[in-house]
């Protein structure tokens, strides 16, 4: 059964909503983690670094399994433990959660690099002028790292767009509920609907192109000025 236009639109909408929600969910904690890793020395930092990097290295199916076990009805965060249904598994929220977990290390690590790119001497200078730590962060570090941080978020968004392994386990593959582009392509291939799959692949290529163009733009500040003038 070929996917009609309506269902393709629905898949696209759901994909964007899930990816945007996951990026939004992950934004603050991941940027904060990036900042901590770039600027603070503390005990157990290497442990934090490892934990942050873990979802990047683990197969997404392993992450999916862990989330499934965590939120299953009898799991530590499941219905029977909490006393109410958190409604995570096999819902759009599950898809958001899976994408967020998978995207987190990518955003945090890119943000860390962005913060590390800010000259620490500037921050110290600002401190000597009586700026508080928060003011330095808000008025100096964040603006200077802005492009890298935006790139980090777009990268996370892009990762969410393509997320499959963890999502299929945590959220299933339910049209109109949890079926995002990556899952819809898989289902079309399973059903032997090659035209439908090709259409969806085309859509993902367009989306990926836009995201990568934005990342490229924001992660290379030096060339920006020249390009604008030319």
């Amino acid at each position: 059964m070929p996917a009609g236009d309506e269902s393709t639109l629905e898949v696209l909408r759901l994909t964007l909503v899930v990816a945007a929600s996951a990026t939004a969910l992950v934004a603050l904690p991941a940027l904060a983690t990036g900042y901590l890793l770039a600027r603070r020395e503390f005990r157990g930092k290497s442990v934090v670094e490892t934990v942050v990097a873990l979802p990047l290295v683990l197969p997404p199916t392993a992450i999916g399994y862990l989330l499934l076990a965590l939120f299953a009805r009898r799991g530590p965060l499941g219905e029977e433990t909490l006393g109410f249904d958190p409604g995570v598994l096999f819902t759009a929220r599950g898809a958001v959660l899976a994408s967020a977990v998978v995207a987190f290390p990518l955003v945090a690590r890119t943000a860390r690099v962005a913060f590390e790119g800010v000259d620490p001497r500037l921050e110290r200078m600002a401190a000597t002028l009586g700026w508080s730590r928060w003011r330095v962060l808000a008025r100096l570090s964040l603006p200077l790292a802005r492009r890298g941080l935006l790139a980090a978020l777009v990268l996370g968004f892009a990762r969410c767009l393509g997320e499959f392994g963890a999502t299929v386990i945590v959220a299933g593959n339910i049209p109109g509920r949890t079926q995002t582009l990556a899952l819809a392509i898989f289902r079309d291939i399973q059903l032997g609907d090659e035209r439908g799959a090709l259409l969806l692949v085309g859509l993902t290529v367009v989306l990926a192109f836009v995201c990568l163009a934005l990342v490229e733009r924001w992660s290379r500040p030096a060339r920006c000025a020249g390009e604008e003038v030319a």
Binding site: S21, A27, L28, F90, R146, G172, E228
Partner: protein
């Protein structure tokens, strides 16, 4: 590029960052729009009078076309939106046990219903054996030479062991009912040991069908109803009903869900004479609705099964004593609590972009 090297970089820098900021704002605005558009969709049940109630129907992959057709009819006549999750019944049972997000479970194997019932999630009174099906051996039709076949008629089972049949597509024999049924038949015919190494397992019976259609496997075993959906495969042999395993589709509503009454109404519809016609037209065997009476319903004043009337979709008085949960309580709660961090993140990002 630039002849003056003192003021130019600053001017360029300013221009550059303002362009970047504009783009960033546009993207962020888009992102915000999507997020808020999303946030608007699920809630707000109060002001709208007829916000269609959604029922999640987890159904065996082989039911896809029949249910899609019946679902359209049902949605037209009732203020209900059906969300289908088609897949291997075993997989669906696992999903229900883990997440309990289904209102109706239409399984290709009674065993899977048992698994859900063991977890006390099944509305046992609504459970019924509704459909039968039949296994068929199929092969792809060669588009260039429609007469070409790996088999000769009259078909005998040992032809499946011919060397030309390099891969035999079955649904996964461990995780899909269709695969279990096929394996049971091959074991009965004492061919399983011979063929086991050539089996190409599919995630569900439709994936198996697709792998035969595409020519990945030379032959395969699916349900009669699947073969009827495809123009690209030919039925070589229909496994006689008394020879193959008994294939019975069990339907049931799920008990611990907010809309049990509506789910039961849908189930009644799926067992109505009209629905039977649709199932039979697609090759299913509609089983006589005798079994449910054997299992005494918990609430004895329940209407007799099989009797279908249009009023069932309204909440009748006898269904009112069902422990009906308030409309979507946890869902609304979590989604609003989910929105708070989004809003914070978005507001923060906006403030960040708006500063000079």
């Amino acid at each position: 590029m630039h002849s003056s090297f003192v003021p130019a970089p600053r001017a360029n820098g300013a221009r550059c960052s303002s362009v970047v900021r504009q783009v960033a704002r546009a993207v962020l605005a888009l992102l915000l729009l999507t997020v808020f558009a999303a946030a608007q969709v699920p809630p707000a049940p109060a002001p709208k009078p007829a916000a269609p109630l959604e029922l999640d129907v987890y159904a065996a992959a082989s039911l896809r076309e029949a249910l899609t057709e019946l679902g359209k009819t049902y949605e037209r006549d009732h203020a209900v939106k059906l969300v289908f999750n088609f897949g291997s019944s075993t997989d669906l049972a696992r999903q229900i046990v883990a997440g309990n997000q289904a209102d109706l479970f239409l399984s290709a194997d009674e065993k899977e219903l048992d698994k859900v019932a063991e977890e006390k999630l099944l509305d046992d009174a609504s459970r019924a054996s509704v459909l039968g099906n039949q296994l068929v051996v199929v092969e792809a039709i060669d588009p260039k030479d429609a007469a070409k076949s790996f088999f000769t008629q009259p078909f005998t089972v040992d032809q499946l062991a011919r060397p030309e049949v390099k891969l035999l597509a079955l649904a996964d024999t461990a995780t899909v009912p269709a695969g279990r049924y096929a394996k049971a038949w091959l074991e009965k015919k004492e061919l399983w040991k011979t063929l086991e190494a050539r089996v190409l397992p599919g995630l569900d019976v439709r994936a198996t069908l697709a792998s035969i259609e595409s020519g990945a496997a030379q032959a395969g075993i699916v349900y009669r109803t699947d073969a009827a959906v495809s123009k690209r495969v030919r039925v070589v042999h229909a496994v006689p009903l008394d020879e193959g395993p008994r294939i019975v589709y069990g339907f049931a509503a799920l008990a611990k869900r907010p809309h049990v009454a509506e789910a039961r109404a849908l189930l009644e519809f799926l067992r109505s004479a009209d629905a039977r016609k649709v199932f039979e037209a697609r090759g299913f065997v509609a089983l006589p609705s005798a079994k449910p009476e054997a299992k005494p319903a918990k609430n004895s004043h329940e209407k007799p099964r099989g009797e279908v009337d249009e009023t069932r979709n309204e909440r009748t008085s006898e269904e009112a004593d069902e422990p009906l949960a308030p409309l979507e309580p946890p869902r609304a709660l979590v989604s609003s609590s989910l929105r708070a961090p989004w809003a914070c993140a978005c507001a923060g990002a906006l403030a960040f972009l708006h500063r000079k």
